[in-house]
Symmetry: C2
Subunit: 143 residues, 2 copies
DNA sequence: TTTTCATTTCGGAATCATTCCAGTTTGGGA
DNA sequence: TCCCAAACTGGAATGATTCCGAAATGAAAA
Protein backbone atom coordinates (compact mmCIF):
# COMPACT_ATOMS: atom_id res chain seq x y z
CA UNK A 1 0.00 0.00 0.00
CA UNK A 2 3.08 2.23 -0.31
CA UNK A 3 2.06 5.32 -2.21
CA UNK A 4 4.57 6.28 -4.89
CA UNK A 5 4.87 9.30 -7.11
CA UNK A 6 3.81 7.25 -10.14
CA UNK A 7 0.93 5.89 -8.18
CA UNK A 8 -0.43 9.35 -7.43
CA UNK A 9 0.12 10.58 -10.96
CA UNK A 10 -1.82 7.73 -12.48
CA UNK A 11 -4.60 8.44 -10.00
CA UNK A 12 -4.62 11.99 -11.30
CA UNK A 13 -5.16 10.75 -14.84
CA UNK A 14 -7.84 8.30 -13.78
CA UNK A 15 -9.79 11.10 -12.18
CA UNK A 16 -9.51 13.20 -15.33
CA UNK A 17 -7.36 15.78 -13.62
CA UNK A 18 -4.70 17.48 -15.67
CA UNK A 19 -1.07 16.70 -15.05
CA UNK A 20 0.72 20.01 -14.77
CA UNK A 21 4.26 20.89 -13.74
CA UNK A 22 2.84 22.42 -10.57
CA UNK A 23 0.99 19.26 -9.67
CA UNK A 24 4.01 17.11 -10.36
CA UNK A 25 6.07 19.29 -8.06
CA UNK A 26 3.41 19.08 -5.36
CA UNK A 27 3.17 15.30 -5.71
CA UNK A 28 6.94 15.12 -5.34
CA UNK A 29 6.87 17.26 -2.23
CA UNK A 30 4.10 15.15 -0.72
CA UNK A 31 5.82 11.84 -1.34
CA UNK A 32 9.33 12.93 -0.42
CA UNK A 33 8.21 14.48 2.82
CA UNK A 34 5.56 11.93 3.65
CA UNK A 35 6.96 11.17 7.08
CA UNK A 36 6.87 14.78 8.12
CA UNK A 37 3.18 15.12 7.35
CA UNK A 38 3.95 18.36 5.52
CA UNK A 39 1.80 21.47 5.68
CA UNK A 40 0.92 23.79 2.82
CA UNK A 41 3.87 26.07 3.48
CA UNK A 42 6.45 23.29 3.43
CA UNK A 43 4.91 21.83 0.29
CA UNK A 44 4.96 25.27 -1.28
CA UNK A 45 8.65 25.74 -0.54
CA UNK A 46 9.59 22.28 -1.74
CA UNK A 47 7.48 22.52 -4.87
CA UNK A 48 9.11 25.83 -5.71
CA UNK A 49 12.46 24.12 -6.03
CA UNK A 50 11.14 21.76 -8.71
CA UNK A 51 8.77 23.91 -10.72
CA UNK A 52 9.88 27.37 -11.73
CA UNK A 53 6.43 28.78 -11.10
CA UNK A 54 4.08 27.73 -8.33
CA UNK A 55 1.93 30.00 -6.25
CA UNK A 56 0.69 29.43 -2.75
CA UNK A 57 -2.88 29.73 -4.01
CA UNK A 58 -2.19 26.86 -6.36
CA UNK A 59 -0.76 24.74 -3.59
CA UNK A 60 -3.89 25.24 -1.52
CA UNK A 61 -6.21 24.61 -4.45
CA UNK A 62 -4.29 21.51 -5.44
CA UNK A 63 -4.17 20.00 -1.98
CA UNK A 64 -7.90 20.57 -1.71
CA UNK A 65 -8.45 18.93 -5.07
CA UNK A 66 -6.29 15.96 -4.07
CA UNK A 67 -8.22 15.54 -0.83
CA UNK A 68 -11.57 15.67 -2.56
CA UNK A 69 -10.41 13.01 -4.98
CA UNK A 70 -9.11 10.78 -2.24
CA UNK A 71 -5.44 10.97 -3.22
CA UNK A 72 -4.39 12.29 0.15
CA UNK A 73 -5.88 13.05 3.52
CA UNK A 74 -6.00 16.28 5.43
CA UNK A 75 -5.10 16.41 9.09
CA UNK A 76 -6.65 19.40 10.75
CA UNK A 77 -5.29 21.16 13.77
CA UNK A 78 -5.64 24.25 15.75
CA UNK A 79 -2.83 26.74 16.10
CA UNK A 80 -0.92 24.77 13.52
CA UNK A 81 -1.46 24.77 9.80
CA UNK A 82 -3.17 21.77 8.28
CA UNK A 83 -1.00 18.83 7.44
CA UNK A 84 -1.35 16.34 4.64
CA UNK A 85 -0.91 12.61 4.71
CA UNK A 86 -0.37 10.33 1.72
CA UNK A 87 -0.99 7.32 3.93
CA UNK A 88 -4.69 6.59 3.69
CA UNK A 89 -4.64 3.40 5.72
CA UNK A 90 -6.17 3.42 9.18
CA UNK A 91 -3.74 4.68 11.70
CA UNK A 92 -3.50 6.86 14.73
CA UNK A 93 -1.60 10.13 14.67
CA UNK A 94 0.60 10.66 17.68
CA UNK A 95 1.28 14.37 18.04
CA UNK A 96 4.03 15.63 20.29
CA UNK A 97 3.02 18.52 22.52
CA UNK A 98 6.50 19.88 22.55
CA UNK A 99 8.14 19.46 19.14
CA UNK A 100 4.92 19.19 17.17
CA UNK A 101 6.09 16.17 15.20
CA UNK A 102 3.41 13.78 14.08
CA UNK A 103 4.07 10.07 14.32
CA UNK A 104 2.05 7.32 12.74
CA UNK A 105 0.94 4.49 14.92
CA UNK A 106 -0.40 1.77 12.71
CA UNK A 107 -3.74 0.44 13.59
CA UNK A 108 -3.64 -0.79 17.10
CA UNK A 109 -5.11 -3.83 18.72
CA UNK A 110 -5.63 -1.59 21.70
CA UNK A 111 -6.27 2.13 21.91
CA UNK A 112 -5.32 2.25 25.56
CA UNK A 113 -2.83 5.06 26.16
CA UNK A 114 -0.89 2.73 28.39
CA UNK A 115 -0.43 0.19 25.62
CA UNK A 116 0.55 2.85 23.15
CA UNK A 117 3.18 4.19 25.52
CA UNK A 118 4.60 0.74 26.07
CA UNK A 119 4.84 -0.06 22.37
CA UNK A 120 5.85 3.30 20.90
CA UNK A 121 7.48 5.20 23.72
CA UNK A 122 4.99 8.00 23.20
CA UNK A 123 3.30 9.22 26.35
CA UNK A 124 -0.30 10.17 25.74
CA UNK A 125 -1.64 13.13 27.69
CA UNK A 126 -4.69 13.96 25.66
CA UNK A 127 -6.96 11.94 23.45
CA UNK A 128 -9.09 13.29 20.67
CA UNK A 129 -11.54 10.98 19.02
CA UNK A 130 -13.64 12.44 16.27
CA UNK A 131 -16.00 10.61 14.03
CA UNK A 132 -17.23 12.69 11.15
CA UNK A 133 -20.28 11.75 9.18
CA UNK A 134 -24.00 12.43 9.00
CA UNK A 135 -26.39 12.78 11.88
CA UNK A 136 -29.82 11.20 12.02
CA UNK A 137 -31.60 14.42 11.06
CA UNK A 138 -29.40 15.20 8.11
CA UNK A 139 -29.75 11.67 6.82
CA UNK A 140 -33.51 12.15 6.62
CA UNK A 141 -33.42 15.48 4.83
CA UNK A 142 -32.99 15.31 1.08
CA UNK A 143 -30.03 17.07 -0.53
CA UNK B 1 -20.12 14.21 37.02
CA UNK B 2 -22.59 16.85 35.82
CA UNK B 3 -20.78 20.15 35.76
CA UNK B 4 -22.82 22.98 37.25
CA UNK B 5 -22.31 26.69 37.36
CA UNK B 6 -21.50 26.55 41.07
CA UNK B 7 -19.13 23.74 40.42
CA UNK B 8 -17.12 25.77 37.94
CA UNK B 9 -17.13 28.86 40.10
CA UNK B 10 -15.74 27.04 43.09
CA UNK B 11 -13.07 25.59 40.84
CA UNK B 12 -12.19 29.13 39.89
CA UNK B 13 -11.68 30.04 43.51
CA UNK B 14 -9.65 26.91 44.22
CA UNK B 15 -7.26 27.82 41.45
CA UNK B 16 -6.88 31.32 42.82
CA UNK B 17 -8.55 32.87 39.81
CA UNK B 18 -10.64 35.94 40.37
CA UNK B 19 -14.38 35.77 40.08
CA UNK B 20 -15.42 38.65 37.87
CA UNK B 21 -18.75 39.53 36.28
CA UNK B 22 -17.28 38.65 32.89
CA UNK B 23 -16.20 35.24 34.08
CA UNK B 24 -19.56 34.58 35.65
CA UNK B 25 -21.25 35.43 32.39
CA UNK B 26 -18.91 33.17 30.48
CA UNK B 27 -19.47 30.32 32.91
CA UNK B 28 -23.20 30.79 32.46
CA UNK B 29 -22.88 30.70 28.70
CA UNK B 30 -20.74 27.57 28.84
CA UNK B 31 -23.10 25.66 31.11
CA UNK B 32 -26.35 26.78 29.51
CA UNK B 33 -25.16 25.92 26.04
CA UNK B 34 -23.22 22.85 26.99
CA UNK B 35 -24.96 20.62 24.50
CA UNK B 36 -24.17 22.86 21.61
CA UNK B 37 -20.46 22.78 22.29
CA UNK B 38 -20.38 26.54 21.91
CA UNK B 39 -17.62 28.46 20.17
CA UNK B 40 -16.05 31.74 21.28
CA UNK B 41 -18.47 33.82 19.23
CA UNK B 42 -21.58 32.21 20.68
CA UNK B 43 -20.17 32.47 24.18
CA UNK B 44 -19.36 36.10 23.52
CA UNK B 45 -22.89 36.88 22.39
CA UNK B 46 -24.48 35.00 25.28
CA UNK B 47 -22.16 36.50 27.85
CA UNK B 48 -22.97 39.96 26.55
CA UNK B 49 -26.58 39.52 27.57
CA UNK B 50 -25.60 38.87 31.18
CA UNK B 51 -22.70 41.21 31.77
CA UNK B 52 -22.96 44.76 30.57
CA UNK B 53 -19.37 44.78 29.44
CA UNK B 54 -17.48 41.87 27.95
CA UNK B 55 -15.04 42.02 25.10
CA UNK B 56 -14.19 39.31 22.65
CA UNK B 57 -10.56 39.48 23.74
CA UNK B 58 -11.69 38.70 27.25
CA UNK B 59 -13.73 35.75 26.10
CA UNK B 60 -10.74 34.30 24.33
CA UNK B 61 -8.42 34.95 27.24
CA UNK B 62 -10.88 33.48 29.68
CA UNK B 63 -11.57 30.34 27.69
CA UNK B 64 -7.83 29.82 27.38
CA UNK B 65 -7.43 30.29 31.11
CA UNK B 66 -10.23 27.84 31.83
CA UNK B 67 -8.70 25.25 29.55
CA UNK B 68 -5.28 25.59 31.10
CA UNK B 69 -6.79 25.11 34.51
CA UNK B 70 -8.74 22.07 33.45
CA UNK B 71 -12.20 23.57 33.90
CA UNK B 72 -13.19 22.95 30.31
CA UNK B 73 -11.83 21.32 27.23
CA UNK B 74 -11.12 22.78 23.83
CA UNK B 75 -12.25 20.98 20.71
CA UNK B 76 -10.20 22.07 17.74
CA UNK B 77 -11.38 22.04 14.20
CA UNK B 78 -10.49 23.27 10.83
CA UNK B 79 -12.69 25.70 8.94
CA UNK B 80 -14.81 26.01 12.05
CA UNK B 81 -14.02 28.01 15.13
CA UNK B 82 -12.88 26.12 18.19
CA UNK B 83 -15.58 24.74 20.41
CA UNK B 84 -15.58 24.28 24.14
CA UNK B 85 -16.84 21.37 26.17
CA UNK B 86 -17.62 21.37 29.88
CA UNK B 87 -17.87 17.60 29.80
CA UNK B 88 -14.40 16.34 30.65
CA UNK B 89 -15.31 12.67 30.77
CA UNK B 90 -14.10 10.39 28.01
CA UNK B 91 -16.39 10.51 25.07
CA UNK B 92 -16.37 10.57 21.33
CA UNK B 93 -17.47 13.64 19.40
CA UNK B 94 -19.72 12.83 16.49
CA UNK B 95 -19.58 15.72 14.04
CA UNK B 96 -22.14 16.07 11.30
CA UNK B 97 -20.64 16.87 7.90
CA UNK B 98 -23.73 18.72 6.85
CA UNK B 99 -25.17 20.67 9.77
CA UNK B 100 -21.96 20.85 11.77
CA UNK B 101 -23.64 19.84 15.02
CA UNK B 102 -21.52 17.98 17.48
CA UNK B 103 -22.99 15.04 19.33
CA UNK B 104 -21.52 13.29 22.32
CA UNK B 105 -21.25 9.57 22.24
CA UNK B 106 -20.37 8.39 25.67
CA UNK B 107 -17.48 6.06 25.94
CA UNK B 108 -18.15 3.12 23.77
CA UNK B 109 -17.54 -0.55 24.25
CA UNK B 110 -16.76 -0.57 20.58
CA UNK B 111 -15.32 2.12 18.35
CA UNK B 112 -16.47 0.36 15.22
CA UNK B 113 -18.28 2.81 12.94
CA UNK B 114 -20.87 0.13 12.30
CA UNK B 115 -21.69 -0.19 15.99
CA UNK B 116 -21.86 3.57 16.42
CA UNK B 117 -24.28 3.87 13.52
CA UNK B 118 -26.49 1.14 14.94
CA UNK B 119 -26.62 2.66 18.40
CA UNK B 120 -26.72 6.38 17.62
CA UNK B 121 -28.08 6.65 14.09
CA UNK B 122 -24.99 8.59 13.14
CA UNK B 123 -23.30 7.38 9.97
CA UNK B 124 -19.54 7.68 10.21
CA UNK B 125 -17.70 8.62 7.02
CA UNK B 126 -14.40 9.72 8.43
CA UNK B 127 -12.50 8.87 11.56
CA UNK B 128 -9.95 11.03 13.21
CA UNK B 129 -7.95 9.60 16.05
CA UNK B 130 -5.40 11.84 17.63
CA UNK B 131 -3.34 11.15 20.66
CA UNK B 132 -1.47 14.14 21.97
CA UNK B 133 1.42 13.82 24.34
CA UNK B 134 5.19 13.60 24.35
CA UNK B 135 7.41 11.71 21.96
CA UNK B 136 10.37 9.60 22.98
CA UNK B 137 12.88 12.30 22.05
CA UNK B 138 11.13 15.08 23.89
CA UNK B 139 10.79 12.94 26.98
CA UNK B 140 14.57 12.62 27.13
CA UNK B 141 15.32 16.29 26.68
CA UNK B 142 15.14 18.40 29.82
CA UNK B 143 12.78 21.38 29.94
C1' DT C 1 -13.11 50.69 55.11
C1' DT C 2 -9.47 52.00 52.70
C1' DT C 3 -5.24 50.91 50.37
C1' DT C 4 -2.82 48.31 47.22
C1' DC C 5 -1.44 45.72 43.32
C1' DA C 6 -1.47 41.63 40.70
C1' DT C 7 -4.93 40.14 37.86
C1' DT C 8 -8.28 41.04 34.58
C1' DT C 9 -10.40 43.61 31.01
C1' DC C 10 -10.58 46.50 26.94
C1' DG C 11 -10.45 47.53 22.08
C1' DG C 12 -7.93 48.09 18.33
C1' DA C 13 -4.15 46.56 15.72
C1' DA C 14 -1.53 42.59 14.16
C1' DT C 15 -1.03 37.82 12.75
C1' DC C 16 -1.58 33.81 10.15
C1' DA C 17 -3.71 30.24 7.52
C1' DT C 18 -6.77 29.96 4.06
C1' DT C 19 -10.05 31.42 0.45
C1' DC C 20 -11.67 34.37 -3.10
C1' DC C 21 -11.46 36.75 -7.39
C1' DA C 22 -10.68 38.29 -11.98
C1' DG C 23 -7.59 37.94 -15.43
C1' DT C 24 -4.13 34.89 -17.86
C1' DT C 25 -2.15 30.58 -19.17
C1' DT C 26 -2.16 25.85 -20.64
C1' DG C 27 -2.88 20.57 -20.99
C1' DG C 28 -4.58 17.55 -23.92
C1' DG C 29 -8.67 16.05 -26.72
C1' DA C 30 -10.72 17.05 -31.33
C1' DT D 1 -2.78 23.08 -34.82
C1' DC D 2 -6.86 24.78 -32.59
C1' DC D 3 -9.67 25.42 -28.72
C1' DC D 4 -11.67 25.64 -24.21
C1' DA D 5 -12.43 23.84 -19.75
C1' DA D 6 -9.39 23.36 -16.22
C1' DA D 7 -5.41 25.39 -13.90
C1' DC D 8 -2.62 28.98 -12.40
C1' DT D 9 -1.44 33.61 -10.58
C1' DG D 10 -0.91 37.23 -7.17
C1' DG D 11 -3.03 40.29 -4.59
C1' DA D 12 -6.91 41.38 -1.83
C1' DA D 13 -10.23 39.66 1.53
C1' DT D 14 -11.70 36.79 5.31
C1' DG D 15 -12.07 35.03 9.84
C1' DA D 16 -10.43 33.17 13.98
C1' DT D 17 -7.23 34.20 17.32
C1' DT D 18 -3.45 36.68 19.65
C1' DC D 19 -0.98 40.66 21.08
C1' DC D 20 -0.35 45.03 23.39
C1' DG D 21 -0.38 49.09 26.26
C1' DA D 22 -3.41 51.33 29.07
C1' DA D 23 -7.33 51.45 32.30
C1' DA D 24 -10.25 49.05 35.63
C1' DT D 25 -11.03 46.03 39.52
C1' DG D 26 -11.25 41.76 42.76
C1' DA D 27 -9.88 40.58 47.06
C1' DA D 28 -6.13 40.30 50.47
C1' DA D 29 -3.94 43.05 53.83
C1' DA D 30 -3.70 47.12 56.64
Amino acid sequence: MKKTKENLISQLREKGLKVTPQRLAIVDALVENRYEHPGATLIFNEARKKAKRVSLSTVYATLKEFCENGLIRQLEFDRMENRYDVDLSDHVNLICNRCGKIFDYSIPASLEPRDIARKSGFVVTDTRLEFHGYCRDCLKRPD
